[in-house]
């Protein structure tokens, strides 16, 4: 009984942060190269892009929606960004700036389209973004004539490989995006509305708000994050290709869900999403170092997603029980009428 309570407390207080630490410790013990500076840098670089997309995805999922189009939109955004950056009429500096702007704008427009269609015609985002998944992929192939674009300016490519005190710049960008997302969720009116709508949209509407506006904004924001991720991708790989990003939506959704955000909306956090993306990165990297093949790794990653959700269920229960215990009994104000589960 006592052990159980301690487990509850651990789950409640530490949750997935603890899982990440345990996972890292296990790998450090069994895979000698895991804890090396090079490898940690490597992991940080690898999780950066998924983290940025997952931040956008967190906004959408908190509202009870989903965005399946992020992988395709990422490809389209790299193509637009790539065409601008390799344009011969522009000087490198201007080209880079316009490329960043263009890529982000394309992402935002795709997200805006998703949001407006969902809200104007009241269609579930699963279907609308499934459509956008194909639209964006088709557009990327069409615009690029299904060719890969490369030879970007050197200064652009260098940022993708640069580090500050050993930390990849690309990861710092991702961290910045996470912190900004966290600030929006916790401190702004917009963030409050996202949680409120995710919990009870009708109550928000009857409180005198227009939930649709906030939802369209979230899809647009998610698209913008994807545009940003596209730029980071180009910096890292130094190419733009219409076939990039296949399956990225699933990684992003997995990171969000492992991070404890509820698929039905209203509950979750940005820090959770960062930890979720980190767990996926650490797992994939660690298993690789142990010599596990791609196929087996994919199976394990899938399993982890399912296990994470199961653990989260227990975590929610632990939260409820411990809050019962923390709450002093108050006749009349408490939950006398069979309020217990």
């Amino acid at each position: 009984m006592r052990a159980k309570r301690i487990l509850y407390l651990l789950l409640r207080e530490a949750g997935i942060g603890l899982a990440l630490v345990l996972l890292a410790l296990v790998f450090a013990a069994v895979a000698p190269r895991f804890a090396s500076v090079t490898n940690v840098t490597n992991i940080l670089t690898q999780i950066s892009i998924n983290t940025v997309i997952a931040v956008g995805m967190t906004f959408v999922i908190l509202l009870g929606g989903i965005d399946l189009s992020v992988g395709s939109v990422l490809a389209l955004a790299t193509i637009v960004g790539g065409l601008i950056i390799t344009s011969e009429t522009l000087s490198p500096g201007v080209a880079i700036l316009l490329s960043v702007a263009g890529s982000t704008l394309v992402g935002c427009l795709c997200g805006l389209f998703n949001g407006v269609v969902c809200e104007r015609w009241k269609i579930h985002s699963f279907i609308v973004t499934l459509g956008m998944l194909n639209i964006a992929r088709g557009a990327a192939l069409q615009i690029s004539n299904s060719r890969t674009i490369f030879s970007f300016p050197d200064s652009f490519n260098e940022v993708g490989a640069a580090t500050i005190f050993g930390v990849p710049i690309i990861f710092l960008m991702a961290l910045g995006v996470v912190l900004a997302g966290r600030f929006i969720l916790n401190r702004t009116v917009y963030g409050r509305m996202i949680y409120a709508i995710g919990n009870n949209e009708e109550a928000v509407r009857l409180s005198g708000h227009a939930p649709s506006l906030y939802k369209v904004a979230a899809f647009t924001l998610c698209g913008g994050m994807v545009g940003l991720a596209a730029i980071m991708y180009m910096m890292r790989l130094n190419i733009a290709s219409p076939i990039l990003g296949v399956g990225f939506e699933l990684n992003a959704i997995a990171a969000v869900v492992i991070g404890g955000t509820s698929m039905s909306g209203g509950k979750g956090s940005m820090m959770g999403t960062l930890l979720g993306a980190s767990i996926m990165g650490v797992l994939s990297n660690g298993l690789l170092l142990l010599g596990m093949g791609d196929f087996a790794r994919q199976m394990v990653t899938g399993l982890i997603i399912v296990v994470a959700v199961i653990i989260d269920k227990y975590r929610a229960q632990a939260l409820m029980r411990s809050s019962f215990q923390l709450e002093p009994a108050r006749p009349g104000a408490g939950k006398g009428t069979g309020g217990a589960p």
Partner: protein
């Protein structure tokens, strides 16, 4: 206290020192209670008194921590609701447990559909269902889908479903909360018929008058303890209320007649809610408590929702302080100082999983933010002020609203609209599911708001409540307003005559006896 004297055959149910604890709460404290075979036993008590816990012990959802329960003299400890049903105990809960997309007949016989060669025997299913529906006097097709039924029909369907197994004990939890007077009357007839068949009925209600209409004996619970069991003959409303609250309440609706009705605050002209044939017009003044009576389905809720912009309307003009305003959504209404406190607090009024302060400030986040950034301190202190003013019982403003009791949740809804400084407050069933003590506090609050110059519109199915607290009552009947009665003309008969007017006449006719022309 519980006298267990009679030497006759064993009583159907007996609680012996039954205790149930939840972490931090003693839900039932050594209950000794006898329920006699074939009686209608009424349980009353405020929210949190332990009524629901008692029911949940009987239907196998909880097990007692101490003491025991006897069923016909034998120890009874059901491990599941199914076990309880097999033992002959069946509950009709406040929340419906029906499958909306299946037919009435399938719902009634869901657990044991008649079969032939492995397939459902629909012919027999519908015939059997028809018979069950007859028993409760429900005139609907067994082929109808449940989602198409009204609330009252759904309630009666739940009872029919409960009767489909041979129940010895039928437990009715607030069965009349959503019913209109004629439906309640029919329910009581059914209860009488069941009683004649030897079924024992445990009846739970907040509406004290019903206790005398239907009950043989009454048990009052308070804070998890049994206070007293009375026979219907020795009980009276003041006595029961006194036992429930533990102190004298005085009159149930002590109206404070200081009516200082001021200027016109809201005027509605030719408002026709979507899907309705008739339009209504009415006006509300500063300081006025205007009641809206009528049968369920008479268009009351539709009308107020249309005023608020929650549902679209076919036509109609709305004036605030004499100026026409365009209201196409709740957002427009809120900006014009109109607010609606919906019937269903949990689903539409509150965000249960969010803290008290977030629920209060959501109506006007601009007041506690600057340039889009929330000011947490301002939010909490503003909420604390309202919590103090409205006497909301909560450990802190951080408490999740879902953990508050019904009365305190309703006060939280009121707080959120006061935070918005709304002038016109429209309440739809403000005291449904709220216990007597908290009701009284809400009435006082309504008077205070009216005295402060707000205009208050109250839709309620509880006629004594409306007559007790309002200055004026509008009566809806089949989508029209058939009565506009000032306080000195209030009488149950008068209001009911207006409420039935359009249904009795068949074709609407103006200026018929018994009802004033539409106001």
């Amino acid at each position: 206290m519980g006298a267990l004297g009679n030497a006759s055959p064993p009583d159907i149910i007996e609680f012996q020192g039954t205790t149930k604890r939840f972490p931090g709460v003693l839900a039932l404290d050594r209950i000794d209670l006898v329920i006699r075979r074939g009686e209608v036993h009424v349980l009353v008590g405020q929210n949190g008194a332990g009524k629901s816990t008692l029911v949940k012990l009987l239907c196998g959802l909880f097990a007692p921590d101490e003491g025991r329960i006897l069923l016909e003299g034998e120890p009874y400890a059901p491990r599941s609701t199914l076990a309880a049903i097999r033992a002959g105990i069946r509950v009709v809960f406040q929340e419906f447990n029906l499958l909306p997309y299946l037919t009435v007949a399938e719902n009634i016989f869901f657990q044991r559909l008649p079969r032939r060669a492995g397939l459902v025997d629909f012919g027999r299913l519908f015939r059997d269902a028809e018979a069950m529906l007859d028993q409760v006097g429900l005139e609907i097709s067994p082929r109808a889908r449940v989602e198409t039924l009204g609330v009252a029909q759904t309630q009666l369907l739940e009872i029919a479903k409960a009767l489909s197994t041979q129940s010895k004990v039928l437990i009715l939890d607030e069965p009349t909360a959503t019913l209109t007077p004629p439906e309640i009357h029919r329910l009581f007839e059914i209860i009488a018929r069941l009683k004649a068949r030897g079924v024992t009925i445990l009846y739970i209600s907040h509406r004290l008058q019903e206790v005398f209409d239907v009950g043989d004996r009454i048990t009052v619970l308070r804070n998890g303890r049994k206070v007293e069991t009375l026979s219907a003959g020795e009980a009276s409303i003041p006595r029961i209320v006194k036992l429930m609250v533990g102190k004298e309440m005085g009159e149930e609706y002590p109206f404070q007649p200081e009516l200082r009705v001021g200027a016109e605050l809201l005027r509605v002209e030719d408002l026709r809610p979507r899907g309705r044939q008739h339009a209504v017009s009415f006006a509300l003044h500063r300081g006025e408590l205007l009641g809206v009576a009528g049968l369920v389905g008479s268009g009351r809720t539709e009308a107020v929702r249309a005023v608020f912009g929650a549902d679209t309307r076919e036509s109609g003009r709305i004036y605030r302080d004499g100026q026409e305003v365009s209201i196409r959504s709740p957002r427009d209404a809120v900006q014009s100082g109109i607010c609606l406190l919906t019937e269903d607090r949990k689903a539409q009024g509150l965000i249960l999983a969010m803290p008290c302060y977030a629920n209060v400030t959501i109506t006007n986040l601009g007041r506690v933010s600057h340039a889009g950034l929330l000011h947490g301190g301002a939010e909490r202190s503003a909420t604390q002020e309202l919590v103090d003013e409205l006497h909301i019982q909560t450990p802190s403003v951080e408490q999740l609203v879902g953990n508050l009791s019904g009365g305190n949740q309703q006060k939280t809804v009121i707080a959120k609209w006061l935070f918005r400084r709304s002038e016109v407050l429209i309440f739809d069933e403000p005291t449904r599911g709220i216990d007597v003590g908290a009701r009284f506090e809400i009435y006082q609050l309504l008077w205070r708001l009216a005295a402060a110059g707000k205009g208050i519109l109250i839709v309620s199915s509880d006629l004594p409540e409306l007559m007790g607290i309002c200055h004026r009552i509008l009566v809806f009947s089949n989508g029209r307003i058939t009565g506009d009665l000032p306080r000195d003309q209030f009488s149950q008969e008068r209001i009911l005559a207006c409420a039935y007017h359009e249904y009795v006449q068949g074709r609407p006719r103006a200026g018929s006896p018994g009802a004033p022309a539409p106001g």
